[in-house]
Symmetry: C5
Subunit: 304 residues, 5 copies
């Protein structure tokens, strides 16, 4: 995720990082080449005039607009929902911590250890979603035995929640009014479990594949034909217009692709590292424990 302070309207025209330009330069280079072929050959290929004008482009434009708008909205919806799920995780983690602090005396629950268990769950979820190795985070937070146990499972975040539920069931057993307390704590565990299932759903069910193929083909067909359709109308301005139209279309496709995979590690994916760190810090602060530093901001205003 790129978090960049707002800049002057003119400087924003020249931004390089965060404009997805770097990742689509090859395609734009190809577009420029095609445009120059069309321009220098006066719309001919092998001496044959390509019989195109601008008439067919609005016809292609209907499908193109529907595909692009749909793909972009569907991707952003996924991004937004993923972000909301992590917001719910933050809220539930804080609430669970605050509730155990208020309703369970220290002799019934080791609050610091429970907080570490909760934080380990968050990191386990992040590593599962990104397919990265949870080892370092686990060792930092849990005892060696618990690390081994966690690593042996397939559905690790859920197993962590299951352990937490058991811990809390033990801590409240026989407490006066404990049924009510267990109910409140159980509800937060469920919130966390629902968020896990939501994240797994987004990670495991991409936007149906043919949409991507169809959009991709429509964009490139549209772009590759464009110079031959424009060259008789606008002549020397063809490369400029054709490359710029291609830039907007290809860039939008590229952004939608990154956004639609919100748990990835592309520049515009969600900043799971920073969010996990925030949850860790907030839970620890509630417990009155020492806080690690916030996640650093990388080059180009990049938060990972």
């Amino acid at each position: 995720m790129i978090i960049r302070p707002p800049s002057n309207w003119f400087r924003m025209l020249l931004v390089w990082n965060g404009s997805v330009l770097p990742s689509i330069l090859p395609q734009l280079g190809l577009m420029l080449a095609i445009s120059l072929v069309a321009l220098l050959g006066d719309g001919r290929i092998f001496g044959e005039r390509v019989p195109l004008d601008t008439a067919p482009f609005p016809l292609l434009g209907i499908s193109l607009a529907i595909f692009l708008a749909f793909r972009n909205n569907a991707s952003y919806q996924r991004y937004l929902e993923a972000r909301q799920l992590w917001g719910h995780i933050l809220a539930a983690a804080r609430t669970l911590t605050s509730q155990t602090l208020a309703y369970l005396p220290p002799e019934r629950l080791d609050h610091a250890q429970f907080a570490r268990q909760l934080i380990a769950f968050v990191h386990l979820l992040r590593h599962q979603l990104r397919g990265s190795d949870a080892g370092a985070d686990l060792q930092r937070l849990l005892e060696p035995q618990a690390v081994a146990q966690a690593s042996a499972r397939n559905y690790r975040p859920i197993a962590a929640l299951n352990d937490m539920r058991r811990t809390l069931a033990g801590a409240t057993a026989g407490l006066p009014g404990g049924e009510q307390t267990v109910w409140m704590l159980d509800a937060q565990i469920n919130n966390l479990a629902d968020a896990v299932a939501g994240c797994e759903r987004i990670a495991g069910t991409p936007i149906p594949y043919p949409y991507g193929v169809l959009l991709h083909r429509t964009i490139y067909a549209y772009c590759f034909l464009l110079p031959f359709g424009l060259v008789h109308a606008i002549g020397a301005a063809t490369p400029l217009i054709a490359v710029f139209v291609a830039y907007t279309l290809v860039a939008l496709e590229a952004i939608a692709q990154e956004i639609g995979d919100p748990f990835g590690v592309a520049p515009n994916s969600l900043a799971l590292n920073a969010m996990s760190r925030t949850i860790e810090r907030s839970v620890l602060e509630l417990c009155g424990l020492a806080l690690p530093a916030e996640a650093p901001v990388g080059k180009g205003y990049q938060v990972s």
Copy 2:
């Protein structure tokens, strides 16, 4: 569902599986034939010039765009909601398992048997939605008597939930604090029952029929008239443009049709097999029981 690793932008232009091209080849062949008739006859039929140019197409385009966008969004909404409902089933199944493990001692509930009952419910729902035979899955999971009982019902997943509720009511009767426990477990059964009703709603109430008819007719009228409208403007490029426009429109209709029936067995329907297997595996892991293998990925990155 097709889950395919992202490929190079150029190779994606040539993808065959997952592009719905195979299923719409006949229509595209017909479009090519009509285009050639228009091109070779110079826009004449039986010697009469078809008096079309590109002017009327934007007029048809308004309805076409509204129908296409609506149909596509409505279908995707159904797909998304169906997927969410199965996400809720996963979450509720895990929570119910975790809760029974934490709050009900083994002498009150046979956890392994209850897990199998829960897994059988999931497979019953899948078979009901797909209209397939649940026999093999039931025999694998339940005792013969329970299999016979389940098969005699009309609304099988709901009957399975009803049995589970009765089992849990018995297991908690007289337990200290049992009212609270029964309330928590009952809430998960309700979550599962709500998901069943949601799935039945999607399966039983298609998108109103006339939308499909109207979209279908508009697409084909648009496509069949297109070559005669284009031929005087772009001549030899007519077959290329007309077939490509038809491809985008017919393919989008085909995708929307598949997606709009998310419990079907088309290549882009939901992977109910794989999701049932995931639920089974996750529930069994929580209980500490042996896990079956994950659902295999078929030819062409196909998950069923």
Copy 3:
């Protein structure tokens, strides 16, 4: 509601039932007449050339597209929400039945009678929404005295829920753990009451009237002017194109009208009869009672 198995792409072009063509034939006939007047008079009326070309139609098209898309989406939203509310009624009716069976012994509640009370509620709601006579259904399900009592009320489904709540309050009074049970049952009654209020809202608050007037006028102005705008550009093809454009616009308006009144009895309204029957069957099956047959499918795949 029309539930029709998918047909071949070619046969679908020729479907008659479910295409709303029958109900808009007069308007299309008028359009044909106007087109022929424009064509045969060469775009003249009373000898005066109507000075139109295709230029103004995209200008009208902006409003037309916004009105059509809005009206259609708003109508479909109403349809969808109405269907969801009836899905909630199914889910709550099943859950309430299952809960009373599991938590209330037969000596405290006559389960069969309660089920009939619940089913009567569903039919009362259906008859209220459609403005039809509930007499036959009530007499089939309730005792004469209860029939008379139900008929004397203004807000009948709500009165039925109120009676059910009182029945359940009596049945649980003094039961050990009864407070928790009454809470669970009360929640399902609330779900049913919320669905009633939702249905009343949809039935009582149509889409604001001026939208319909404005859309109607824009469509007809657009269609009636169209032949005179097209005739100089496409000559003899004018009637074909003009009637087809009118077909798509008028048909979409007709569908949106039917869908937007989801509790009506038009061919594309919700199948309230079939849904009530499904709820009745599902509730009775849970109680182990005899089931009536499913609602029959009418002519033209029509489910009422």
Copy 4:
């Protein structure tokens, strides 16, 4: 709100009430005048030819379409949410009444008085939202002392809910199982309070002001330029087309304005009077008390 039975497609073209025509006649008159100036002067102003054709209008059309669609959707969303909130109020009022009747014996709560307190709350909310005087309704329902007390407050509906909560807390104190009852009743009070906050939010936070200014200017600039752009293309048809285009745009803006302020008293605002009356009637019927008549339908099918 206008609730009008569906009429014949032809008569609907001629509807006067409910078409917002009356309120935009001045603007349309001005449009007619401008069109005639353009037509009679052959597109000249002070002898200078206004150098416009239809080319720039699609460029303006992009912004216009986005503004119009956005404004219309945002307004309708507000209307819909406001209507839903009042639906929630109806549902919660009924549920609260039914619950107090079922769970609180008459010696603990004066049901008739509580019903009047609840009804007074509804009218207080309506009067606050419309800025009208609640005096008559309060005097009809409450004792003089309570009227004086209610009138002295700033946030009256919330104060009424606060009083009801206190009444119920007193009525349930010491009742066996009373904690559970108070919880159920408290939840309904919260539902009512949430609806109050929702209504206040809609009433107090209009759609951001600049959207309205921008849309307004774009519409009028578009309309005032239109005759000069059309006159060379369609000559004598210019006034007809220009006025009709202006009618659709200005009328849509006018509708969106009315709908976007759903608690106002414009013809298309919500029928708060009728809805309050329905809630009053439904609550009274549940208590077995005498019902007032339904709210009357005004001239032009107007429900206020």
Copy 5:
């Protein structure tokens, strides 16, 4: 936020405040200059004719429309959600106050002090979201020691909620039926905590950066090319049309930018000051304490 009474349709064309015109004057001035260069040079730059006509603009228009509509909708969604979250805070604050008043006797809770604690939480959240200094508000409401404690934390609103939960846990300990009461109060604290997490999410996760860059570039490329595309078609009308088109596009971008950062202090950001004051007033009125005045309306109908 600008809250301005509706004005006459004609005067609204001339509004200055609230039209975002002031903030985009430099860009419009530049547009005017470019238009004049194009007009006076007859579409030539350094003697070279810029070979553009209006044909390429609809091609750019597709991307432009998608970007603009998406950006605008995404921004408004953020604005709306932020407003809803503050609506939830108002509702939860009132409910929590009303509940403590009804269920906790004064000897168990100092209601006035608790109200001040709650109000301080609201101001802490506002100051955190706007990055402003909470000192004055804290000193007004809390004791010096509590002020120091609050200021030492990183996540201040959450710490305030945590303190409130502890206060309530202490006040209900040992109260008969106190478990139920603690549950009800705990639920409101959770509502507040969820709203905090929601606000933090909106504040911390802007709309993905590249969307803004892409939209910005497309708008300016479109606008800067426009005069050269229009000058041969509409001659002297070019500056008028080009500047007006630029005005609509640049203004929409500017509004979307302000709205998309709803917790900022731009003229169209949310009126957090006024909303905090309303919550403070409403909570104090429920407690029967003296109310501060409402937040003043600034110059130009501005509410901050």
